[in-house]
C-alpha cells in the first residue's frame, strides 16, 4: 500500500481528475495548497504596494492505493498535469502502514479498494 501525493497546477485539476477516472482510480481527496517549486514569481501591485508572490496556488491530490495501482496513478497524474513548463508540480509516493474503512472496519487492502456503490 502506498500513498501517492500529487501537487499540480489548479488549472489542470479537472484534467487530472479525468485521467484518474480513466485509470479506474476512484478513491481520492484533494485540497488547495500554496507552494513554490522553482517557477518565476508573479509580480502584483496593490495601489503603491508592489509584491513578488513567492507562493503559487496548487492543488494537492492524495490517493491511497494498493501496490498494483501505484504506477497507473502516477501515469494518470502526469498525463493530466503536464504542460511542459516549470511549475507543473511533483509526485511523491510514500509507504502506508495501515488503512481502515470507517464504515465497515475493513483494514488495509480491503479499505483502499473502492466498493462499487
Amino acid at each position: 500500500m502506498k500513498l501517492v501525493i500529487g501537487i499540480v497546477r489548479p488549472e489542470v485539476a479537472n484534467d487530472v481528475l479525468e485521467a484518474l477516472y480513466r485509470a479506474e482510480v476512484r478513491g481520492l481527496s484533494m485540497c488547495k495548497v500554496q507552494g513554490h517549486g522553482g517557477e518565476l514569481d508573479r509580480v502584483e501591485t496593490y495601489r503603491g504596494t508592489t509584491v513578488q508572490m513567492r507562493l503559487a496556488d496548487k492543488i494537492r491530490f492524495e490517493v491511497a492505493v494498493t501496490d498494483d495501482f501505484v504506477d497507473p496513478t502516477i501515469e494518470a497524474l502526469c498525463e493530466g498535469a503536464r504542460t511542459g513548463e516549470v511549475g507543473d508540480g511533483k509526485i511523491f509516493v510514500v509507504p502506508l502502514e495501515r488503512a481502515v474503512r470507517i464504515r465497515t472496519g475493513e483494514k488495509d487492502h480491503g479499505a483502499v479498494t473502492p466498493v462499487s456503490a
Binding site: E11, V12, N14, Q34, R42, V43, G48
Partner: protein, 439 residues
C-alpha cells in the same frame, strides 16, 4: 407673481421638483453599473472576478467620455431619422436652459442619459468575460457606445425613425435591452467560446455577490424607469411603481418554473428573475397600468427562462446570458406595449386590446429592427477590431485567470509568501521581476 415670473412663463421653464427628482434618478442609475459589475463578478470563476468587475468600471470611464464628446450629440441633436447632428459635440450648448420638451436643465438631461449609455456598454461585457483581452474590450466599448448605443438611442428617444413612426419605448427596450442583448450574442460569436466551455463545469464563484448585485440593480432601476418621464409627474410615478410590481411577479413565476424543472428554488435563478422583470417593464413602465405590469412580469419570465435553459446546450458561449435576460425580456416588453398600452394611464396611445391595432405594428417594427441592427453592427465592429488587435487572451492566460494576467492583482489575495518590492532609500532591490504571462 412678479412681472418677471409672468414673462418667464412664456418660455420653457425649469421646474425645481422635476429637477430634484432627476438629479436623484441620475445617481440611482449610475449605481447600476457597479451593481452590474458585482452581479457579473459573482457569476464568473474566482480567477476572473476583478477582470469581470473591471469591464463595468471601464464602461464608467469610457462610455462617459465618449458620450460627452460625441455620443450624446449623435443621439439627441435634432430629429433626423437615422442619427442626430453634431451641434452638441463636446457638450457645446448643453447648459442650464431646459432641454426641449422637458422642465429640467439640459445638463441634467445629458447626465441622466449618460448613465444609460454607461450601463448598456457594461451589459455587453457579460458575453465575453473570462477570455476577452482588457485592451480590446476598451476599444470595443469606446466604439460600441457611439456606433451602436448612441444610434439606437436616437431611434427610440432622440426623435429618430422609430420614435417618429409611433414606437413607444419608455426607458430603453430598444437601445438598452435589445441593444445590449443582441449585441452580446454577436460578441459571443465573434470572440468565441471559452476554452473549457462545454467540457468542464464553469460555475459562479460567489452567489451572494450575484444576489446583492441584482438587488442593487433593482434599486437603481427605480431611477432608470422612474426618471424616464423626466419629471415627478404621472408617467414617472406610474413607471416607478410598475418597477416594483413587475419584477416581483417575474420572481414568483421563476420560483414556480424552478420548482417544476428541478424541484428546488434557486438563488442564482432568483437573481436572474429580478433582472428579467426589471428589463421587461423597462420599455412599458410608463405606458401600461399596474395590473398589466404584473401580468407582464409573469409573461416575461417564460421566454427568458426558456432561453436560459436552452442556450448552454448550444456551442454559443454567451457567458452570462445577456441575450436571455436583456435581449429576450426587452423584446417581450416592447411587444407587450402593443397589446396592453392604455391611453387612460399613459395619455399617449392605446394598444391592440384597447382598440388600437396600429400600435402593435409600431412595436413589432422596433422588435425586428433593434435586434437586426444591434447584432449586425456589433458583429462587423468586433470583426474589424479583430483585424487590428487580438480579441482574446491566449489559452495559457485563460487558464491562469484574467485577474493576474490582465491586472496583476487577485480578488482574494492572501499576502502569504508575498515579498515587498518597494524602493527603500531610493534603491530598488534587484529582484527577478517576471511577467506572469511568460513565466
Amino acid at each position: 407673481m412678479s412681472g418677471l415670473g409672468l414673462a418667464a412663463a412664456a418660455v420653457p421653464k425649469v421646474d425645481s421638483g422635476d429637477t430634484a427628482w432627476m438629479l436623484a434618478a441620475t445617481a440611482l442609475v449610475l449605481l447600476m453599473t457597479p451593481a452590474l459589475g458585482l452581479f457579473y463578478a459573482g457569476l464568473v470563476r474566482e480567477k476572473n472576478t476583478l477582470n469581470t468587475f473591471m469591464m463595468s468600471v471601464a464602461a464608467l470611464a469610457i462610455a462617459t467620455v465618449m458620450w460627452a464628446l460625441v455620443g450624446y450629440s449623435l443621439a439627441f441633436d435634432g430629429t433626423s431619422p437615422i442619427v442626430g447632428g453634431l451641434s452638441y459635440v463636446g457638450l457645446h450648448d448643453v447648459t442650464f436652459a431646459p432641454r426641449d420638451g422637458t422642465t429640467i436643465p439640459h445638463l441634467v438631461f445629458f447626465a441622466f442619459q449618460a448613465t444609460f449609455c454607461i450601463v448598456t456598454t457594461a451589459l455587453v461585457s457579460g458575453a465575453v468575460v473570462e477570455r476577452m483581452r482588457f485592451g480590446a474590450f476598451l476599444v470595443f466599448a469606446a466604439l460600441w457606445s457611439v456606433l451602436v448605443y448612441a444610434v439606437m438611442a436616437h431611434w427610440a428617444f432622440g426623435g429618430g425613425w422609430l420614435q417618429d413612426g409611433g414606437t413607444l419605448d419608455f426607458a430603453g427596450g430598444v437601445p438598452v435591452e435589445m441593444g445590449s442583448g443582441f449585441s452580446a450574442l454577436a460578441a459571443a460569436l465573434v470572440v468565441r467560446a471559452r476554452k473549457d466551455y462545454g467540457r468542464q463545469a464553469l460555475l459562479p464563484h460567489n452567489s451572494v455577490y450575484v444576489l446583492l448585485g441584482a438587488g442593487l440593480l433593482w434599486f437603481g432601476w427605480f431611477g432608470f424607469n422612474g426618471g424616464s418621464g423626466f419629471s415627478a409627474g404621472h408617467p414617472g410615478v406610474l413607471a416607478f411603481t410598475n418597477t416594483l410590481l413587475t419584477p416581483a411577479c417575474t420572481l414568483l413565476v421563476w420560483f414556480v418554473l424552478d420548482l417544476i424543472r428541478g424541484r428546488k428554488v434557486t438563488a442564482i435563478g432568483a437573481a436572474t428573475a429580478i433582472i428579467v422583470g426589471c428589463v421587461g417593464i423597462t420599455p412599458a413602465a410608463g405606458f401600461i397600468s399596474p395590473p398589466w405590469a404584473m401580468v407582464l412580469g409573469a409573461v416575461a419570465a417564460l421566454p427568458s427562462y426558456a432561453v436560459i435553459v436552452l442556450r448552454p446546450r448550444t456551442r454559443v458561449d454567451e457567458t452570462l446570458d445577456v441575450l436571455a435576460a436583456h435581449g429576450v425580456a426587452g423584446f417581450t416588453g416592447i411587444l407587450f406595449i402593443g397589446f396592453f398600452a392604455q391611453q387612460s394611464w399613459n395619455g399617449v396611445s392605446d394598444g391592440l386590446v384597447y382598440g388600437n391595432a396600429a400600435q402593435l405594428g409600431h412595436q413589432a417594427l422596433a422588435a425586428v429592427a433593434a435586434p437586426v441592427y444591434a447584432f449586425t453592427a456589433t458583429y462587423v465592429l468586433l470583426r474589424l477590431i479583430g483585424l487590428v488587435m487580438p480579441l482574446r487572451a491566449t489559452e495559457r492566460e485563460e487558464a491562469l485567470g484574467m485577474d493576474v494576467i490582465q491586472h496583476g492583482e487577485e480578488a482574494y489575495a492572501s499576502g502569504e509568501g508575498a515579498i515587498l518590492i518597494t524602493p527603500v532609500d531610493g534603491e530598488v532591490p534587484p529582484v527577478p521581476v517576471a511577467d506572469p504571462g511568460f513565466a
